[in-house]
Amino acid sequence: MPLLDIKNLTVSFDTSVGLFKAVDGIDVAVDNSEVLAIVGESGSGKSVAMLAVMGLLPATATVTADKMEFEGIDLLKMSPHDKRQIIGKDIAMIFQEPVASLNPCFTVGFQLEEVLGKHLGLHGRAARERAVELLHLVGITDGAERLGAYPHQMSGGQCQRVMIAMAISCNPKLLIADEPTTALDVTIQKQILDLLVQLQLDTGMGLIMITHDMGVVAETADRVIVQYKGHKMEEADVLSLFENPKSNYTRALLSALPENAVGDRLPTVSDFVFEPAPGARA
């Protein structure tokens, strides 16, 4: 049984011009200790699917699926209250903009200890000690002082480390990382990726890495899902994807990488004509 098992997930948004399907009939499955990358350009609905799992979509979104199970428990049928016992504890998520994702009005310590209090019942000194420990785990060595800092006093990389500390604070079984390095400097990107991979190895949690960066995929993933306009184009293990892409779209994506460029002009995805995904009405 996979850790997270989604079958035929569809997410549509109620907009002023009618229904817009951001995700259309996608299957996702991830196992314990597995790193799954979901790749796609912006607008391909790759974040939306995972936000649907977390229950973080706005009220205008409608989520339907044949199956959406976490450890065999149906997430769709769960009451919001029960779901909140899992969200943030067993399934955690980190986001693209680390600085904006931390509340500017509260200290790092408050925001970190809040999760510990909510899910583990840790308060006061116990929470503080655990928070320092967690900060240490994510590479912030002066954790005790950092607890009193506000997000605006820290760099983007440090904020993302705090976000990761918050996410792993309850030893989650699944961590969803939504473009965790996109907003960061290149050198910091590498550090954060290494940190995520190391933590995944140490804890054996499942990791879903949402990204548009093929480099990130190559470096981290075991298995890859390529998504385009709400449809799954291809799913393969990372080696076969890079060596023998089956979908034209994947081929297009790979040839658009600068290091694969031949000639003066970099090919773009739209230079390729590719077949729509099975079931798509494009």
Partner: protein
């Protein structure tokens, strides 16, 4: 409104305070010149106004003119005035012959009591209503609240006061029409705040009477701030609810109540508190109308009566004192704003 500190702004609180104070000095001088000049150009003669109906002989007129310094050059009159103001002497009322500052201090608590109660009502109702409207955006509650808020914001409060009098005092007979307390109670003021004084005396019927006198004027004066606060809270909340950190809070598995009341509200309150502070100046204008309608013996009524009586000294010093108070409150709001916003406070 996302609050961001301008780059290059000195984050150090003390430094910030000093700079604000330095900016205020020329404004205060300007205000004092204005207050002084307004009164000089008012039509009518202060000496004749002082003499009242009895009139004054030409000799006595000259003596009085000299005595009050009206024969001196205008700039010297200004510096004399400024000098005495700095010593706490705001002049003697032409109408009552009492020191202006004493009159002011006697009436000020009435206005403060009215304004604080009005603001209390406005904040107590406005903030929860705004939060709820934002959370239930587009619902009937949201639409109804915002409709009522815009109506309140558009309200001619002097008419609103009269309507309430017609209904609650005339038709239902629940509340008195004027004054701060029934005439049958004689209480020597301790704090000057009627609600507190009656409690200090342990006089329960007097307290009830004071409360019944206070409620309608406070509702009238609080109407526009209430509308403004509800609207501002709603839009600040809507903006904040779309922020990434609110999504993070929800991703932690926190209850919706905690997400809204702790994570979102703390951020939304920053612009709301500024708005509340800015209402103080408007509140003084509203107090003129409210106190006139309800014959409330406060600063607003004192000012308008003095304008009609052409009591120049009171108008001049009253203007100055009120402007200084408004400025002081605005300064306090700025400091409070810096204090509640960690992005300015901590560096």
């Amino acid at each position: 409104m996302a609050v961001r500190v301008a780059k290059g702004k000195d984050p150090h609180m003390l430094n910030y305070l000093l700079r604000r104070l330095a900016l205020i000095v020329p404004t205060i001088i300007g205000i004092s010149i204005c207050a002084f000049a307004f009164v000089r150009v008012l039509p009518g003669d202060p000496i004749l106004a002082m003499a009242g109906q009895h009139g004054v002989t030409p000799e006595r007129y000259e003596i009085l003119k000299e005595q009050f310094g009206y024969n001196l050059p205008i700039w010297q009159q200004y510096f004399d005035y400024l000098g005495s103001v700095l010593q706490g002497d705001f002049g003697i009322s032409l109408a009552t012959k009492r020191p202006v500052i004493n009159e002011f201090l006697a009436l000020f608590p009435a206005t403060i009591e009215l304004a604080l109660t009005a603001m209390f009502l406005a904040v107590l109702i406005g903030i929860p209503a705004g939060i709820f409207a934002a959370v239930k955006r587009g619902s009937w509650f949201d639409q109804a609240t915002m409709g009522v808020a815009l109506t309140g914001y558009s309200m001619p409060i002097f008419w609103w006061g009269l309507l309430l009098i017609i209904f609650f005092s005339g038709y239902l007979g629940w509340t008195p029409v004027s004054g701060r307390i029934a005439l049958s109670f004689f209480l020597r003021p301790i704090t000057g705040f009627m609600l507190i004084d009656t409690l200090l005396y342990g006089n329960w019927p007097a307290f009830v009477s004071a409360l019944r006198h206070l409620i309608l004027p406070a509702v009238v004066l609080g109407t526009i701030p209430l509308a403004v606060i509800a609207r501002q809270t709603r839009s600040a909340m809507l903006e904040v609810l779309g922020e990434d950190y609110v999504r993070t809070a929800r991703a932690k598995g926190l209850s919706p109540r905690r997400v809204v009341n702790i994570h979102a509200l703390r951020n939304a309150l920053i612009p709301v508190i500024t708005t509340i502070g800015l209402q103080v100046g408007l509140l003084m204008g509203g107090a003129i109308l409210t106190e006139t309608i309800f014959t409330w013996p406060g600063i607003g009524k004192w000012m308008i009566d003095s304008i009609f009586k052409r009591d120049y000294v009171v108008v001049q010093s009253g203007l100055l004192i009120i402007a200084l108070i408004v400025m002081a409150v605005n300064l306090l709001v700025d400091l409070l704003y810096a204090f509640i916003n960690p992005r300015i406070r901590v560096q």
